[in-house]
Subunit: 347 residues, 2 copies
Amino acid sequence: MDKDKLSERKERILKAVVDEYIKSASPVSSGEIQQKHFNEISSATIRSEMSALEDMGYLIQPHTSAGRIPSKKAYKLYVDKFMVKLPLRRKEIELINASFKSRFDGIEEIVKRAAKVISDVTNYTSVIVLSNINRVKIKRIKLVDLDSRSALVIIITDSGIIRDKIITLSATINPIYIEDANNLLNKIFEGKTVAEIKQADEIINTELKDFKELYENIVAILLSYEEDKNSSVIIEGASKMLDHPEYDLDTTRNILSVIDKKERIAELIEENQDIEFTVRIGKDEALDKCAIVTAKYKINGKEIGHAGVIGPERMDYSKVVSVLNYVGKTLEEISHGGKDDKYDKLK
Amino acid sequence: MDKDKLSERKERILKAVVDEYIKSASPVSSGEIQQKHFNEISSATIRSEMSALEDMGYLIQPHTSAGRIPSKKAYKLYVDKFMVKLPLRRKEIELINASFKSRFDGIEEIVKRAAKVISDVTNYTSVIVLSNINRVKIKRIKLVDLDSRSALVIIITDSGIIRDKIITLSATINPIYIEDANNLLNKIFEGKTVAEIKQADEIINTELKDFKELYENIVAILLSYEEDKNSSVIIEGASKMLDHPEYDLDTTRNILSVIDKKERIAELIEENQDIEFTVRIGKDEALDKCAIVTAKYKINGKEIGHAGVIGPERMDYSKVVSVLNYVGKTLEEISHGGKDDKYDKLK
DNA sequence: TGTTAGCAGTCATAATCTTAGAGTGCTAAA
DNA sequence: TTTAGCACTCTAAGATTATGACTGCTAACA
C-alpha cells in the first residue's frame, strides 16, 4: 500500500499516542495529545489526523465517545521506528551489577540471577530458556566415584554449562575403573553434540566392552535433558502479570497458565533463533494480548540461551530493550573476567 | 472455658458446615445443612444450633441474611478432630508414582518433581524448602580439576544432597595438588556441620599452608549457601492461587507477592521443625486469609526439607494431608531402592 | 487547502433506585 | 426441646437516570 507512508506530523502524533497509552493504559484523546505534545495546533486538527490514522489501521476506537488506543500495527511501527534505547539510570545499573558480583556461580546460577534482575528492573515477567543441549558440543565428560556402586557424571559443554547426575552401576567401581572409563568417555564424547551421539549409537557399541552399562547410562542422561524442557526454563516475577490494569482476572489466569506450561513459552522465546532481538506482539492464542521481547544471550561467545520479557502490548519497550541489552553485555563480560575457556588445555 | 465442649450434634453440624463451605466457597444456610445432612431434624433446630455455634466463635455471619461461614477456630477444630485421611484415588497414586520413576535424579531434582506433583494433584500452590545446609553434616568433599586454574568442588552431605561450584585459584592445579587437597579437605570437613566449620575457622588455619586459598574458597561457598534462601525454595503452581473464588484481585496480588519473596515463605514452612505435620491458618499479615499445611520430608532417614501447601482457609485439608503423606512415603522408599547410603565405605 | 472554533450527538461509567429472594430470628404451639 | 410460620433484614441483580468525556461535522477563516 502507498497510504502507509505517514506524514511527519502523523508519525509524531502516533508516537505521542503510543507513549501516552503506555503510561496511562487508558484511551488517549485528541485533547490530551494537544495539551501535552502539540500546543501549536488545535485538538480539532489532531482529531482529524487521528481519524486518518484510524482509517490506516494504526489506531482503534474502543467506542465512539472514547479516545483511541494503538493497534498491533502501531506497536510494530513504534518498535521499529520510534523506540530509543534510553540509557539506564544509575540505580538500575547498580542493581544489575550487584546481581552478578558473586564469584562462585556456575552458568545456571548466573542465568537465574539474570532472570531475576531483568524482572526486578523492568517490572515485567521474565523468562530465560537455556539452549537445547542437543545443539551444544560436549567438551569433556568426567566420572567421579562416590561409593562402590555409584558415581557422579559431570558433563561440561563448550558453552561452559556444567551438569551432573548420579548413576548407579551393577559393576564395582574402583579407581582403575574410573580412570579407564574417563579416558574412554572422553574419546567417545569429546567435541560431539548430543545429536551426533544419538546417531553414532551403533558404531561405537563394539569399542565399549566393560563400559557398556556406563555408556548407556550416560546416553540416557543426555537424552533425558533433551526431553524435559522444564528444567531449562527459568521464570521470574510471574506475579507481576497481575499488575497490569488492562488484564481482567480471566485473562491473567489464561496468561499465567500458559507461562506455567514451560514448554510452550520455551518455543515462543526460542523462535527466530537467528535474530539478535525480537519483539513479538500477540502471536499466540492465550498470549494474544501480550508482547514478548526476546534477546539471544551469549557467554564466552557461545549462545547459551534466550531471554524474554512478557508483558502487555503497551509495555515500556524502550526500557525492556535497554535492560535486556545491558544484562546481555554484562553476561558477556563476566565470562571474560571469570573462569575462562581453557578446559582444552587438559586432556 | 467450659462452653467449648460441644455436644455431639453441634460437632456434627459444624463439620457439615465446614465440609459444605469447602465445596461451595459460599455461606452455608441452615436449610442446606438440613437437606444434605440432617433429614431427621428441622432447619429451625439447626438454625438455633448454628446460632449457638456462632456465639461460641465457631461460625461467622457475613451479614444478617446470609448463611454462615467457618471461623479460624472452626477450621482448627476441624483439622484436629474431624479430618480423615482419605485414601488417594488410583489415578492420583499413578500420577505420583510416575513422577518418580526416573533413575537419574539427584535429590534436588527429586524434590522439584515432588513439588510439581503435589501441586498438580492437590490443585494448590506447593512449596518445598530444602533444609538449611547449616544443620546438615558434610559427608565428603571432592575436588575435581577442570583446567589449570579452576576446579569443581563437589559437596556431599549426609542427606545425600550434592552441590557443586566452580572455583578459580591463583595457584596452578595439577593432579598431585588435587590429591593432596582432597585428602586434606576430607580430614577437615568430614562429619562437620557448616556451623561447626564457621567456629573452627581459627584453629585450622595453621594446618593449611598451601591450601589456604582453596580452603577459604570452600568456606565462602558454604557460607553463600547459607545466605541465599532463594535457591533452596521451590515453588510450583503459584498461578493456581488465582483459582480461588474467595480472593479478589488485590488479595491474590498480595499473597503472590509474599510467595515471590521466597525468604518469608521459607520461614513459614520451616517453623515448628519438630512436628511431623502442621496446619497453620492465617498467621501472617498478607497470608491472613491463607492456610498452610506443612510436612517434614526425609530421605534415607535424614530430614531433607519441609514441604508445604498454601491455599485458602477452606482448603481440602483431607486431600492435602493425604497427598503430602503419600509423597513423603514415596520419597523415603525411593531412597531405599535407589542409590544407597554407602558413601562412607570409601575413605 | 489546511486549520480552527463551536456544537450536536454518542456512549460508557457511575450513581441511584427498585426489586427479588435467600436466610435469619423470634414467637407460639406441639 | 422441637417445629412451623412469619416478619424482618440485607445483598445481589436489574433498571433507570445523570454525567461528562470525546468525537465528528460544519462553517468560517487564513
